[in-house]
């Protein structure tokens, strides 16, 4: 076990809202090493033997329990790929909090590529929260390329909150999901890029069973000279309903490419997509200024609200 230093503790707070050791199961990873682990009667965590990563096994009927698996990188020059598999049994109701914080004060790039796979059993409910955060003023880049795969059995429900607000230089996010009958997926993505950052986020959601549904909503802000590509695709292969929405604010010299797409392979599929990109509306700024905020304060309030 490794003791966390102050930087690592700060990163932990940013990505997992953890001030203390959480109740329930957890697995802390710091600079590619195990820094702490706890299991419960219903949730087991095992290290993988072939590759770096863990298996999280949640027993049938586990309710009101949580798993935290934060990762922090505070040394410059680390490059790692980690495979975490979540096996959620049937009839569960659990909260899973993951996240990665990178502090890079050095000159070498630091990169964490997390591959998360979720196998969610029948009638189970999962809330998944993932936060990414970067800090440090070194020349080395902070790179995060998360891959998330979700396989949902009949009537499973998953709500995903994916947040990347600060400090990550380059990111390629890939999220795939396959839903069986009656399964329901709700995704809220919040993305902000600044400086010269580049971010790509690709969603590929297949609605394979009757009565399955997906609602994928991405809100993003591109500031300075940053670039974002948002590619949200839903495939309707049964009597299902799907909705994707990319809603973006563009500022300074930021650039955004939004590519929401739909593919219907069943006449019973009901699919909708929406996309909007625009600068902050002038009358929004004016309204907040008539309430006493400066233009800059008004801008901050609007963005904070938008990304909340």
């Amino acid at each position: 076990m490794v003791k966390l230093d102050e930087i690592q503790k700060r990163l932990m707070r940013e990505v997992a809202d953890l001030h203390e050791i959480p109740e329930g199961a957890y697995n802390f990873r710091a600079n590619s090493q195990l820094a702490g682990r706890s299991t419960t009667a219903n949730i087991d965590i095992k290290s993988k033997e072939d590759v770096s990563g863990i298996d999280i096994i949640i027993k049938d009927g586990t309710k009101k329990e949580s798993v935290h698996i934060p990762v922090v990188l505070s040394e410059s020059g680390i490059k790692e790929t980690v495979y975490n598999d979540f096996y959620v049994g049937e009839d569960c109701d659990v909260l899973i909090v993951a996240g990665c914080g990178i502090d890079n004060c050095g000159s070498q790039d630091s990169e964490h590529d997390g591959v998360h796979r979720f196998f969610i059993g029948k009638n189970s409910k999962v809330k998944y929260v993932e936060k990414h955060y970067g800090s440090g003023d070194g020349k080395g880049k902070r790179i995060l390329n998360p891959v998330t795969e979700v396989y949902m059995e009949e009537n499973a429900a998953m709500e995903m909150e994916m947040v990347q607000i600060k400090g990550v230089d380059s990111t390629e996010r890939t999220t795939k999901a396959e839903l069986k009958a009656g399964a329901k997926l709700v995704v809220h993505e919040r993305l902000m890029t600044h400086g010269e950052q580049k971010a790509a986020s690709v969603y590929d959601v297949a609605l394979n069973g009757d009565g399955s549904s997906a609602d994928v909503v991405s809100r993003s802000v591109a500031r300075d000279s940053s670039y974002q590509k948002l590619d949200l695709c839903i495939l309707g292969n049964a009597a299902c309903s799907g909705h994707t929405e990319c809603d973006s604010i563009i500022m300074d010299n930021g650039r955004i490419l939004a590519v929401p797409s739909l593919e219907a392979n069943s006449v019973e599929a009901m699919l909708v997509h929406e996309a909007a990109i625009g600068k902050i509306a002038g009358d929004q700024l004016t309204k907040l200024m008539t309430l006493g905020l400066t233009e800059q304060e008004a801008e901050e309030q609007i963005i904070n609200g938008f990304l909340k």
Binding site: D283, L291, G292, I302, N304, G305, F306
Partner: protein, 249 residues
């Protein structure tokens, strides 16, 4: 007291300069509910925006309690005590009603305080406090929230730009009640409403008629209202519809 001295405002109209406000001088006294009326295109909303600092006049001076605020920005005028309710309230994705009320009051406020502002404008606080100010709100709801932000800000001078515009008749009835309450408790502040609705004019202490960018009449309600009844400056809502709204409401 707000004082406008020789205010002139020209707008660019397809390359041609058009005089919208022509050398207006006006005093808005304290403890008064003043209604600015007049035909459409007469310059009423422009005048309201000039007071809030959203439009800059080409010439003239604006004094608030004797202090020259002509050069102040929108933000500084808000800080100096001017509140402005938009004719078309703005929507904000993500910001909640509570967020906006907090910003308006300029200090951390308790939920119970925020709720009291909403109750005053006839909204059930628990249904609205955490609602986003987005497209899911109707025009009438937005108008009331807009007014609630002014209550939360509690300015020395509150300017309402056509509060009745864009709302249905049922909401209009309730809006009148809100303004009646404001008129009763105006003491220590002043309220200025841009409107040509007869129902709002009938609760005014003071009426100013603005036509073609100039003040054509100014005085107490008793003095002015009879002279403008039935004109563009005092429009009644449709009697039939109003009756229907009353029986339904």
């Amino acid at each position: 007291m707000l004082e406008l001295i020789n205010i002139t405002f020209n707008a660019d109209n397809d390359g041609q300069e058009k005089e919208i406000i022509k050398d207006i001088s006006l005093k808005v006294e304290d403890d008064r509910f003043t209604v600015i009326t007049g035909p459409n295109g007469g310059g009423k909303s422009t005048l309201a925006k000039i007071i809030a600092g959203i439009e800059k006049p080409q010439s003239g001076r604006i004094l608030l309690d004797g202090r020259d605020i002509t050069g102040l920005s929108i933000t500084d005028r808000a800080k100096a005590g001017i509140g402005f309710a938009f004719q078309q309230p703005v929507r904000f994705k993500g910001l909640t009603v509570l967020d906006l009320l907090k910003i308006a009051s300029g200090k951390p406020i308790k939920i119970s305080e925020a709720c009291s502002y909403l109750s005053e404008v006839g909204l059930c606080a628990k249904d609205y406090i955490n609602r986003e100010i987005n497209a899911s709100l109707s025009g009438g709801e937005l108008k009331r929230i807009e007014i609630a932000t002014i209550l939360a800000k509690d300015p020395r001078l509150a300017v309402f730009d056509e509060p009745e515009a864009g709302i249905d008749l049922w909401s209009f009835q309730n809006l009148i009640k809100i303004f009646e309450n404001m008129q009763k408790s105006v003491s220590g502040r002043s309220i200025m409403v841009i409107s040509h609705q007869e129902r709002i004019l009938s609760i005014a202490d003071e009426i100013v008629v603005l036509a073609n960018g100039q003040i054509s009449a100014q005085g107490s309600r008793e003095e002015i209202l009879p002279t403008i009844m039935g004109t563009d400056s005092a429009v009644g809502s449709c009697g039939m519809l109003e009756k229907e709204a009353k029986s339904n409401g």
